[in-house]
Subunit: 384 residues, 2 copies
């Protein structure tokens, strides 16, 4: 049976890699919807190759530009309102949710509420709206397949196992560029240092999150919601080669790991075909060539952002809205040289102390707390 795929953010990194995978599996997938914010030229190329039934351009100017420039065979939509209604489209079998940021939450939620399975690459869905998203998915019996390599690795380790067999989830972390840097040197970290990730080439926000290990903190929160596991059963293990993407320790003492070269097409493919696997033309892992895998304990005194993520989970997991929003503003401010690298956890911690929240569950409340936190954080940094 052909699976109908919709991709939110088809011109971004996850979107284009998803289409790379779909290209390899001809006849197995049909593209229903592609969306872009503003990259209309690439969208046009994608239309020619993948023949979607519908496309959407979020940016109004770009939407008009596209309509003037290109003649296409599919329906062309524009703007946020259309996006939200297209996501409720029951014609989709699997929605690839790869919009960046908070704006990805509502479209994803609409898909879930319409009973559409989701391959999830948007972080905010689980970090900020984990309770709402997982509750809705449960209600509608919708499956959420995480695309990022860590949670996808856990999904792979758990196939054929029962959740009651889990003793511990072990999320691996590269440790970023400052893994071996002494804590006393952290105050000298420059933007250039922080953008220099050893294993993965990613956008600047996520690269900074990787350097501060906030990315791993956010992944711990995502794992908490996705697998329904208490924070004391989620470990982070520093593994600088990023070959083991994550592990599960079972109640019988056995550990299962998923390994591979860093290549997002593997988890994307698994999310698209779960529980099946199809032949994928990606470079194979050669452990003889890799030769050595190393492991260390993460230093929570050095990587305070990771510590903050655990403290949020131990207190009230919905407070991750504040953690995430404050972190985004802090990282932006760091990239604009308004604050130092070491200020990032300080700013977040201050916001967590100052802003109150109480086990939020409604989308409007979540959006409002996110907005409020961003405003507070801007002001706090501006007045420093």
């Amino acid at each position: 049976m052909v699976k109908k795929i919709s991709i939110l953010g088809s011109t971004g990194s996850i979107g284009t890699q998803t289409l790379d995978v779909i290209r390899q599996y001809n006849d197995m997938f049909e593209v229903n919807l592609l969306t872009t914010n503003s990259n209309i030229d690439l969208l046009y190329q994608q239309i020619l190759e993948f023949k979607p039934k519908k496309v959407l351009i979020n940016n109004e100017t770009k939407y008009n530009e596209f309509q003037d420039l290109y003649k296409v065979d599919c329906e062309v939509f524009g703007g946020r309102e259309d996006l939200l209604s297209l996501c409720s489209d029951k014609e989709t079998d699997l929605l690839v949710s790869s919009l960046v940021g908070f704006s990805g939450v509502e479209p994803t939620l609409n898909a879930i509420n319409s009973g559409v399975d989701v391959a999830l690459a948007n972080k905010e869905c689980l970090v900020s709206a984990g309770k709402l998203i997982t509750k809705s998915a449960k209600k509608k019996n919708v499956k959420i397949y995480a695309i990022d390599s860590e949670h996808n690795a856990i999904l792979q380790c758990l196939v054929g196992e029962e959740s009651s067999f889990i003793e511990k989830l072990i999320l691996t972390a590269s440790g970023g560029p400052f893994r071996s840097l002494e804590k006393s040197k952290f105050k000298e970290i420059t933007i250039k240092d922080a953008l220099n990730h050893p294993n993965w080439s990613m956008g600047s926000k996520i690269t900074i999150d990787s350097a501060s290990m906030m990315n791993k903190g956010l992944e711990v929160i995502e794992a908490y919601w996705l697998f329904g596991i208490s924070p004391d059963k989620i470990d982070v293990l520093v593994h600088k080669q990023s070959i083991i993407h994550s592990m599960v320790q079972f109640v019988d003492g056995s550990v299962k790991a998923q390994l591979g070269l860093p290549d997002m097409r593997v988890p994307i493919s698994y999310a698209l075909t779960y529980p099946m696997r199809f032949k994928l033309d990606v470079p194979r892992l050669d452990l003889v060539k890799i030769s050595e895998l190393n492991f260390e304990k993460p230093d929570l005194e050095k990587f305070e952002c990771l510590k903050l993520a655990y403290s949020v989970l131990n207190e009230d997991a919905t407070k991750a809205i504040i953690l995430n929003a404050a972190n985004e503003i802090a990282v932006e401010s760091f990239l604009q040289e308004k604050i130092n690298f070491v200020d990032i956890p300080k700013v977040i911690s201050e916001m967590l102390n100052k802003i109150s929240s109480n086990n939020l569950e409604e989308l409007e409340e979540i959006i409002e707390l996110d907005r409020k936190t961003r405003e507070f954080t801007y002001n706090y940094i501006g007045n420093k």
Copy 2:
């Protein structure tokens, strides 16, 4: 539902560890049958603790001694004939086949032919009689769960997956004590050197097999039968720490591995409870403490026994009867200082050239070829 377990060789290493596991899972298992060759004192202790319905002592003198010494509540049988008929007992849900050597084949086959699932620790069942055993199991829809850590690791990696997803099985090997020894030094290897295994404490025969890497060759043959995989899809990877017990590479480029401290109770437990897992009190893996995992390509010029195993599979897998029997006599002769360590593969290779076989399948033929090979090998070594 309580599972009724019978253990062939309950006083041996696998047998006692199986009872260790059963002790942890009270109420889940009932012991139906325990057998020993001659260790009647330990058998008596096991009877008191595990209350089997039946026991069997293989050695006649010891059987008589037991009857004189002990009064027990269960039925007591003696000798090979009773053993064979007890294995056809349909009251058993799972037979743990941990007799050592060729004598374990017929009892195991009887169990399979009676529709009894088997947890397999006897090597000869698959190495020498793989075709017969797997064919019988298929016919009777009987499940065979390998107990040794490598095949059990693969079983764990394959749960929830389909066999068509497999691209490659990767059996890990410690590499034994001579992993780093130059080939030119192999002729100086003493019995003491060869018995000094870095990771596992085992009997002397299997320790020598580990030093020559014949154990890995035999495991490649077992994997061939157990998973129905062609030899070019079975790789051996030297991994000196013995933490990753084996891996499966899938067609999408993803690799799954099973890890743990070397402790046979974990694979035994999995074979007993598959596909379930129950809490097992064994030491947990701490990768921070392990710190480093290393990988190397096996050197087939140094470890000729491993090369011989692959050549048997590529020619006629039932020739492994000759490989296995000649190896046993060669190892015995090495331990008696009749031949050198480097002569082991030479002797086997000579026997593989000299003795003919033709895709044997009947138990009588297999037994006869095994006997004949042993006799030829004795004579060959005696006349050297």
